[in-house]
C-alpha cells in the first residue's frame, strides 16, 4: 500500500539534527542552572549558619530545601534529555546506515555483483583461463625436462683425458706433502716450547 508511507521515510536527517541540537542546548542550559543553584545553596547555607535569629534561619532552611528540590527536578530533566538525545543519535545513525547501504548498492560494480548468473559464468571462465595457462606452463616444463634428459655430455669437451688425470694426481700428491710438512713443523714448535717451560 504505497499511500500508507512510513513516517520515518518522510523524516529528514536535518530534522533529527535540529532536534539533537535543541536537546543538547537545553541540556547545557540545565547544566548551567544546576551549578548556579548549587552556588546559591552554598551561599544560603553560609548565611543560615551565620544568622542568629531563629525565624530567618528557618527561612533560609526552607529556601535551601526548595532549591534542592528544584535542583533534583532539573537533574531528572537533564537525564531525560540525555536519554532522548541518545535515542535521536541512534536514529541519525540509522538514517546514515540506510543511506550508506542505498548508496553502496548503487555503485556500478556492486550492481554487477547482484547478477549472480553472470558472476558464475565469469568465474568459470576465469577458472578455465587459469587452468589453461597452468597447462601451458606444465607442458612447457615437461618439454624442458625432456630436452634436458635427452642431452649427453660431450666427453671430449667436459670429460677427463689421461693428461688431465696425471695432472690431478700430481696436484693431490703436492697437497699431501704440504699438509705433512705443516703438521711436522707444528709438532716441533710445541715440543720446543714445552722444553723451554721445563
Amino acid at each position: 500500500m504505497w499511500f500508507f508511507k512510513n513516517k520515518y521515510d518522510k523524516m529528514s536527517r536535518e530534522e533529527v539534527v535540529d532536534a539533537i541540537c535543541k536537546l543538547e542546548q537545553e541540556e547545557k542550559e540545565i547544566e548551567e542552572g544546576l551549578s548556579a543553584k548549587q552556588e546559591q545553596i552554598n551561599q544560603l547555607m553560609a548565611k543560615g549558619k551565620a544568622e542568629k535569629e531563629k525565624d530567618v534561619k528557618l527561612f533560609y532552611a526552607k529556601k535551601i530545601n526548595s532549591l534542592k528540590l528544584e535542583r533534583e527536578q532539573s537533574v531528572q530533566r537533564a537525564m531525560y534529555l540525555m536519554y532522548n538525545t541518545q535515542l535521536l543519535n541512534k536514529l541519525k545513525t540509522a538514517i546514515d546506515d540506510n543511506q550508506f547501504f542505498k548508496n553502496t548498492t548503487k555503485i556500478p560494480l556492486n550492481k554487477l555483483l547482484a547478477d549472480q548468473k553472470g558472476l558464475a559464468k565469469f568465474l568459470n571462465k576465469a577458472l578455465g583461463t587459469k587452468t589453461k595457462s597452468e597447462d601451458i606452463l606444465t607442458s612447457a616444463d615437461e618439454v624442458f625436462k625432456e630436452v634436458e634428459e635427452s642431452y649427453d655430455k660431450n666427453e671430449s669437451i667436459y670429460g677427463m683425458s689421461d693428461q688431465d688425470d696425471a695432472l690431478l694426481a700430481m696436484f693431490e700428491t703436492e697437497e699431501q706433502i704440504d699438509n705433512e710438512q705443516e703438521m711436522f713443523s707444528t709438532s716441533a714448535e710445541t715440543k720446543t716450547s714445552s722444553d723451554e717451560n721445563k
Binding site: R13, E14, I20, C21, K28, D96, Q99
Partner: protein, 108 residues
C-alpha cells in the same frame, strides 16, 4: 538539443540549491564558533570553497554534496556540544568536508 539543455539545467538546480543550503549552514556554524577565532577562519575558508562549487547534473556529484551536508550537520551537533570550541569531532568533520570537496572536484 534545446530539450536536453533544459533537462540538464533542471538537474543543476537541485545541486545548486543543495550547495546554497550548505553555504548557509556554514553561516550557522560561524555563529556557533564565534568564540574560536581559528575555527572561524577555517570555516570562512570552507564557506568560500563551497560557495564556488560548480553545480552538476551528475548524481555522483550530488551525492558528494549530500555527504558534505551531513558532515556540516555533524559539525553543528559537535559545536553545540562543545560550546563552539574545536573538538576532535569538529576537526574530523572539517577534514571530511575538505576531502569530499576535493574528491568532488576531481570527479567533475
Amino acid at each position: 538539443m534545446g530539450l536536453f539543455k533544459k533537462k540538464n539545467s533542471q538537474n543543476n538546480t537541485k545541486d545548486r540549491e543543495l550547495i546554497s543550503q550548505n553555504e548557509k549552514a556554514i553561516d550557522a556554524l560561524l555563529i556557533l564558533a564565534e568564540k574560536d577565532e581559528n575555527l572561524v577562519e577555517k570555516l570562512k575558508e570552507l564557506k568560500e570553497k563551497i560557495k564556488y562549487l560548480v553545480p552538476s547534473p551528475d548524481d555522483k556529484i550530488y551525492d558528494f554534496d549530500v555527504k558534505i551536508k551531513r558532515h556540516i550537520e555533524d559539525m553543528r551537533i559537535a559545536l553545540v556540544k562543545s560550546d563552539g570550541e574545536t573538538s576532535k569531532k569538529v576537526e574530523n568533520a572539517l577534514a571530511d568536508i575538505r576531502l569530499n570537496i576535493a574528491d568532488r572536484n576531481a570527479k567533475l
